[in-house]
């Protein structure tokens, strides 16, 4: 709902098409999530909102930002660098794995669909 509102601002305020408005909308949501994480309120919103904050792109940004903040005391390389993807890493791994299998399914059935044309 929040994303939709931001997207409308880009469409009407900046005269973008709906497709063009997609990328800046996501960027604004990520920014918002990171700012709220740094201010220490994102985790409090999440206890109340649950999956609503965990699933979308804001949750991903929060997982990276919170890990980076938390491990800052262990240095930039071994702390921030090594721990930033501690939580987000599994999202990327399983996202890629899922995309691979969806790709195979699409490849098999996609060929079948094209043959009918």
């Amino acid at each position: 709902m929040l994303g939709q509102a931001i997207s409308e601002v880009f469409v009407y305020g900046f005269h973008m098409t709906r497709k063009e408005a997609g990328n800046p909308t996501v960027a604004v949501l990520i920014m918002l999530s990171i700012i709220l994480t740094c201010l220490g309120v994102y985790d409090k919103i999440a206890q109340w909102a649950g999956a609503g904050t965990a699933v979308p792109v804001t949750g991903f940004a929060n997982s990276m930002c919170s890990a980076a903040l938390e491990h800052r005391s262990e240095g930039l390389v071994l702390g921030v660098g090594a721990n930033m993807f501690k939580l987000a890493g599994s999202v990327i791994v399983f996202g890629v794995v899922a995309a691979f299998f969806v790709g195979i399914v699409y490849w098999i059935f996609g060929i079948g669909l094209e043959a009918h044309h």
Binding site: C38, L69, H71
Partner: protein, 338 residues
């Protein structure tokens, strides 16, 4: 000396001549706030890391405990302590500051009574005149090590517990003024197969029950011999389970007041602490802050503190292991008794 199977009876009657507690902001908003010696308004305590903040809590608590006991660092013969951090670093660093011979112990949240029992045993056996026991925990170090980064937005179930930010230290001596440590019952590991680290109260309840029953068997005492029996940090889920288990086994637990430090330290209705408090600091600050004062005033004659610990590690539960639990009970008597 050994009494029964697993209880140490301290016939020389070691005395807690000084104790101090330091807590964080959430505990300072709880119902026991007035009983703590120092309340930090911020979680970071102006330190660069959470780990440093936790260490500071213990350093301050031990310094104040020595001051109240009127014992200087040179007189202190041994320091016994432990905490939740990997390799109990908070205590090792604090012991560096304290500077006395040091024994590090680990009993998770049961460390408070484990260290007090050992300190009392040393004093009772004549192996030391002044021995200090201490422990600490910090909400953010525990979250970081056992769960997720502190600012990560994960939703906690209502069975989860809130780690207490606080430290408590007590100086035990051969003679002096203060509450008397009567006896201590050392617990066995109990593991009933719970694997959920967000439900530690339920996992620890059987350990508390086992130690309490062992205590009653070894000493021949009954619940009615105590004005108050408290468990360490079973909280809203575990404490009723422990009570039910005791009743099932025919222990007349209703003859006394049966409480839990994890439920006493916070206003569970108003504060966002899920089922209640937990952590090494929980039973330590409630006992050394609140309960010792009530014993001192003679409001309570004799109490039994049964501190409970969930001996899990982040590695063990990720590998699907169950949670081994333990409980140690220490009986403390008011100086105004007799």
């Amino acid at each position: 000396m050994l009494h029964g199977k697993q209880t140490w009876w301290f016939d020389k009657r070691p005395v807690i001549i000084g104790a101090a507690t330091v807590v964080g902001p959430d505990e300072g908003e709880g119902p026991l706030a007035a009983d703590f010696d120092l309340v930090h308004p911020e979680l970071d305590m102006q330190q660069k890391s959470w780990e440093k903040a936790e260490r500071l809590l213990l350093e301050q608590a031990s310094e104040m405990a020595l001051k109240y006991a009127k014992v200087n660092k040179q007189q202190l013969q041994f320091y016994i302590g432990g905490d939740l951090m990997n390799q109990i670093i908070s205590n090792s660093f604090a012991a560096r500051t304290i500077g006395s011979p040091y024994l590090g112990v680990f009993g998770a949240c049961s460390t408070s009574m484990e260290s007090l029992a050992i300190a009392s045993l040393i004093v009772n056996s004549g192996s030391g005149e002044y021995v200090m026991a201490g422990t600490c925990s910090h909400n953010c170090t525990a979250e970081k090590q056992f769960r997720y980064p502190t600012e990560y937005g994960s939703q906690k179930p209502p069975t989860a517990q809130y780690t207490v930010t606080g430290a408590g230290a007590a100086v035990v001596a051969k003679a002096g003024k203060g509450p008397i440590v009567e006896c201590a019952t050392i617990g066995k590991i109990m593991d009933l197969g719970i694997t959920d680290p967000f439900n530690m109260g339920a996992a620890m309840a059987p350990a508390a029950v086992d130690t309490l029953q062992a205590h009653f068997n070894d000493t021949g005492r009954q619940p009615k011999d105590y004005d108050l029996i408290v468990t360490g940090d079973l909280a809203g889920v575990g404490h009723p389970i422990a009570k039910d288990l005791l009743k099932r086994d025919g222990v007349p637990i209703d003859d006394t007041v049966f409480g839990d430090c994890g439920l006493m330290i916070y206003d569970v209705e108003k504060q966002k602490v899920q089922a209640g408090g937990s952590g090494c600091g929980c039973s330590a600050v409630v006992t050394y802050g609140h309960l010792l004062k009530r014993l001192q005033q003679g409001e309570l004659k004799r109490i039994l503190v049964c501190a409970t610990g969930a001996l899990l590690s982040p590695l063990s539960y990720q590998q699907g292991e169950t949670i081994p639990c333990i409980a140690h009970a220490v009986a403390i008597e008011s100086p105004m008794h007799n």
